[in-house]
């Protein structure tokens, strides 16, 4: 270590790397630590979409803020991250879902995030692989899919180019807030590094470093096909998504099919809590594929070349945890993004940076404040 370190960011996933770059750009001397390499954890296991989700007003605020930042980022980084501006088709299978799709279109359009309703005929013309008999869909124009590990790697490289420090293959075993003016991380090899601030963006590792922060694993099973270029133009998501209908064993499934830049189809998604490991679950993968085939029948004749599972770092109320640790001065958090970490990474980073610098963030930070899990302090 040479010279002063203002802030140490723990975790080089998409959220941690984005935070590190924002902080370094704001003039703080930043070190980024990861037990492995950038983007190799949850960031590499997930689907990688940039989507406007609107299950709550604050979720949409954070998504739209971040999507605006991503738009700039993609313009500034042509050719990086396998960005496909495919848009999303939220597919409704019945009249009830169609009503919800209409509400989604209204909410997004009201925020200038362009969405249009499609009747069954328009839907079939736009995406002939979809089955007959669907009720309709809402097409969200500005959504994209990306390959997140490459973006995390790029962000880490940018941090270094900006004068920040990279410390990879170094596992942090504990964090210490030695005084109001100083914090410290202890590495596996016993080495200690001090800084004024710590940002803990360690995904599921947050539970080990800060057991009082309620981040828990929510498992997802995924499958990817061989290359079938041109067969699918849009990301397809069932209007079931986010409805959280669960089976007896706590498995929740909603079809999400992404056309990747390679012509492959990436197929999710499932959610299951209380799972101990990332072993692929044949029951969950089977349910995921069944839900996808129900929308896209031709999938039944396509080759699946790989299946895997990952753990989303979830929070109890489904919102990420961004801001100051309520009881340990100097420690800051950017965690618990569940399945939206890629979409919301850039906004999370800007929000955290503004809060750390005592500036007014562009959106209301209260829904994300870590203090919400601490009751009355």
């Amino acid at each position: 270590m040479s010279g002063r370190t203002d802030v140490i960011v723990i975790g080089a996933g998409i959220v941690g790397t984005a935070c590190a770059v924002s902080l370094q750009k704001a003039g703080m001397q930043t070190s980024l630590i990861d037990a492995s390499m950038p983007g190799c954890g949850v960031t590499a296991a997930g689907m990688g979409h940039l989507v406007a989700l609107d299950e709550s007003a604050q979720e949409l605020d954070l998504c739209l803020y971040s999507l605006g930042l991503w738009r700039e980022w993609v313009q500034q980084h042509p050719g990086i991250g396998q960005v496909v501006q495919c848009g999303t088709l939220w597919v409704a299978e019945n009249e009830h879902q169609l009503d919800e799709a209409k509400q989604r279109a209204e909410r997004l359009n009201a925020r200038q995030w362009q969405a249009e309703m499609l009747n069954p005929e328009q839907l079939r013309q736009l995406e002939p692989a979809l089955r007959q008999g669907l009720a309709g869909a809402v097409r969200v124009m500005g959504d994209s899919v990306v390959y997140p590990p490459v973006i995390a790697y790029q962000l880490a490289q940018e941090l270094q180019a900006l004068g920040g420090e990279l410390l990879f293959r170094q596992r942090v075993t504990s964090v210490l807030d030695t005084s109001a003016q100083s914090t410290m991380v202890v590495l596996e090899n016993g080495m200690k590094i001090a800084a004024q601030y710590l940002v803990v963006a360690a995904g599921l590792g947050v539970a080990d470093l800060l057991p009082e922060i309620p981040v828990f694993p929510r498992k997802g099973n995924l499958a990817i096909t061989d290359r079938y270029p041109g067969r699918l133009q849009h990301q397809i998501v069932s209007m079931d998504y986010g409805q959280h209908g669960m089976t007896a064993d706590g498995l929740s499934v909603a079809a999400n099919i992404q056309p990747r830049a390679t012509g492959q189809w990436l197929i999710g998604s499932s959610r299951q809590d209380g799972q101990a490991d990332t072993q692929v679950s044949p029951v969950a993968v089977g349910a995921v594929l069944k839900s996808a085939i129900r929308l896209l029948p031709c999938l039944s004749g396509m080759n699946i070349i790989r299946t895997w599972a990952g753990m989303r770092p979830a929070s109890p109320d489904g919102q990420p945890i961004i801001g100051a640790h309520p009881t340990r001065p100097g420690i800051w958090l950017a965690a618990g993004h569940e399945g939206l970490g890629v979409t919301t990474a850039l906004a999370s980073a800007e929000l955290l940076k503004d809060l750390m610098l005592g500036k007014n963030p562009a959106i209301d930070p209260t829904p994300y404040a870590p203090s919400r899990f601490f009751g009355r302090l």
Binding site: D226, R227, Y228, T262, G301, M302, N303
Partner: protein, 91 residues
């Protein structure tokens, strides 16, 4: 009935890259391509010609487009009348 069909070696026509050619019904597609002196089932992502390696359905090298369905295994597929096979443009 099915074993009789399996043994059939009737002369049939198969369309290979737009050209109709004679083949024996139920002959292995990879073997038939070999008999046509065509050592290509597809082009790789980088444009290289590919052909069967293991011949027993494991290596996935002999993926081929049959009747518009990509990524069939030539070594696990039998020649059928009217089959349309595409192996990519470069020969």
């Amino acid at each position: 009935m099915s074993s009789k069909k399996f043994l059939s070696l009737q002369k049939i026509q198969i369309c290979l890259n737009g050209k109709w050619l004679p083949a024996d019904e139920n002959m292995n597609v990879a073997a038939w391509l070999l008999s046509q002196e065509t050592l290509q089932t597809r082009l790789s992502v980088t444009g290289m010609p590919r052909f069967a390696v293991c011949g027993m359905g494991v290596c996935q090298e002999c993926r081929i487009s049959i009747n518009g369905q990509a990524h069939q295994l030539a070594c696990q597929t039998k020649c059928q009348p009217g089959m349309v096979i595409e192996t990519g443009e470069i020969r």
